[in-house]
């Protein structure tokens, strides 16, 4: 139920969205922190399953609640969601309960047989992650073999008659030059291209400096989106680029806690999938009376829906379109939340980054303790500091029956 509050009637949708909705319209649900890959920029620092991950019954209860709240669809991700043994069951359970599913996958389990099953199911959308239009560029950040895995999945979907799969690309310094190639690839598979922004979230914080598009590339991206924007999906990725001139298609505001949110594998509810940090934790679906309670009544979300000041951005003539950019991008680069985005197209982010700032330490990390053969070259090149004490032990992953290592999952 809506809290009875003073709320202006009419106004633009963005004005209404800022005040929050009775249920999210962009809900991401990560089913597991386990993943077969170790992408250098993983937004959720995934790798290993968390022993507290929701059981099948608990997941079904979440779906029942989403149905009651009329959350019409959910973006399922991870980790790699398809490696959960009950993934296909939960998919069917959701669809049977009027909760449509779009799931993100690296393609590892999209066999010809699964592709045929997906093609026969309504209300399921599949999104394959690909961060390079060539194996070289993709595998550098996503790990060896991951390009082939993704393309095999796309081929299987196409051959099974699955229509309009999505190819989801995180735009980086390495692949901005490949936008036309990505589009051609999508066309070849009868798929829709989805471009998203690299945020310094999760392991993305470790590689953001090296990977985030350079100022000149931001303009290339903007021009490309102006030319092709109607045919590609971008979600809320690039509204900070609106300050180059025109507004871009897509959601033009930071929807964190207002229309956007994340349920993580253990049932924690965060303001946004790019904000897995205790500062943005609103509650837990198990211990705080269910998702609806957390969404509608948590202190954090109430605060995020209250009128915000533009801070240092308020005087900017682009503020109406850009609104200071992405909360997560600012937070994880140690910039003030009411100031400019680190990628502010006026260059204010760069000067802020050059100044005094403290990058917040990661508060959640499920990265694999020891590198595997799937580790991308990028990570081996970076001298990445150990994420936590247990990662320092080369035997951490091999101790049989060792109690779950504290510090990795906590």
């Amino acid at each position: 139920m809506t809290a009875v509050q003073e709320r202006p009637v009419g106004g633009s949708l963005v004005d209404q969205f800022e005040l929050g909705l009775d249920a999210p319209i962009c809900l991401t649900w990560e089913l597991t922190y386990a993943c077969n890959l170790e992408c250098a920029h993983c937004l959720s620092s995934s790798g290993r399953r968390d022993p507290r991950e929701l059981s099948t019954e608990q997941c079904e209860a979440v779906i029942d609640e989403l149905q009651r709240m009329q959350v019409f669809y959910v973006n399922i991700g991870g980790g790699e969601p398809t490696i959960r043994p009950d993934f296909w069951h939960l998919l069917e359970y959701a669809v049977d309960h009027q909760v449509g599913v779009k799931f993100s996958t690296n393609g590892v389990r999209i066999t010809p047989e699964r592709a045929r099953f997906l093609a026969s199911t309504d209300y399921v959308d599949v999104q394959i992650s690909l961060d390079g239009a060539t194996a070289e560029v993709n595998d550098y950040v996503r790990g060896p073999g991951s390009y082939d895995t993704a393309l095999t999945a796309l081929r299987n979907l196409q051959e099974a008659g699955f229509e309009d799969a999505k190819i989801s690309v995180v735009c980086t310094r390495e692949n901005i030059g490949q936008l036309d190639e990505f589009k051609a690839l999508a066309d070849r598979f009868g798929a829709t291209l989805r471009l998203t922004r690299l945020r310094p979230s999760g392991r993305g914080a470790d590689v953001w400096d090296e990977l985030h598009p350079l100022p000149g590339q931001q303009k290339v991206l903007y021009d490309w989106l102006i030319a092709h924007g109607e045919d590609v999906l971008t979600g809320d990725s690039f509204f900070h680029l609106a300050a180059f001139g025109e507004k871009l298609p897509g959601l033009n505001l930071c929807g964190a806690g207002r229309v956007v949110c994340l349920i993580d594998p253990v049932g924690d509810v965060y303001a946004c999938p790019f904000a897995i940090h205790e500062n943005f934790l609103a509650g837990n679906v198990l211990s705080d009376g269910g998702f609806q309670r957390v969404w509608q009544a948590s202190e954090l979300f109430t605060e995020l829906r209250s009128p915000q000041t533009g801070g240092a951005c308020a005087k900017c003539s682009f503020y109406d379109a850009c609104r200071g950019g992405c909360m997560a991008a600012k937070f994880f680069t140690g910039l003030p939340l009411d100031g400019p985005d680190p990628e502010c197209v006026r260059g204010l982010g760069e000067s802020a980054l050059a100044g005094e700032r403290t990058v917040p330490p990661a508060s959640r990390d499920h990265s694999k303790a020891a590198p595997t053969r799937n580790q991308p070259v990028m990570l081996t090149l970076l001298s990445r500091p150990p994420v936590s004490a247990c990662a320092e032990s080369p035997l951490a992953d091999y101790a049989p029956g060792a109690p779950e290592q504290k510090g990795c999952c906590a």
């Binding site: 009419g10 949708l13 209404q16 909705l21 009775d22 019409f72 669809y73 009027q98 449509g100 309504d122």
Partner: protein, 99 residues
């Protein structure tokens, strides 16, 4: 164009598409089409009442009257219905027999 106050749609029978669910929101409602997965925002309560009750009335005009929409605004509501029809949120009722 013809006079917007006399859009021919006013005399036609329409209905909310069976694949559409409406979720009440403080500003009106959110309409979701399970078939084409389009999400639309109905930003006025009168519009929400109108699309919900279209199917109960012989034509759009009587649905507008029942929803309490003033006559001067009929043109605006008719064009809203046309744009909703573009994504199959609402549809004419006449074809059903033929289908």
């Amino acid at each position: 164009m013809s006079d917007p106050q006399h859009d021919p749609i006013l005399d036609q029978a329409w209905v909310l598409s069976p694949s559409v669910a409406l979720r009440p929101e403080p500003f009106g409602a959110l309409a979701y089409h399970f078939g084409n997965r389009k999400l639309t925002f109905l930003k006025r309560r009168e519009l929400v009442v109108l699309v919900e009750t279209l199917g109960e009335h012989p034509d759009v005009r009587s649905a507008l009257v029942a929803a309490g929409v003033p006559e001067v605004e009929y043109g605006a509501y008719c064009s809203a219905l046309h744009s909703l029809a573009g994504t199959d949120m609402v549809r004419p009722r006449t074809r059903e027999v033929a289908a």
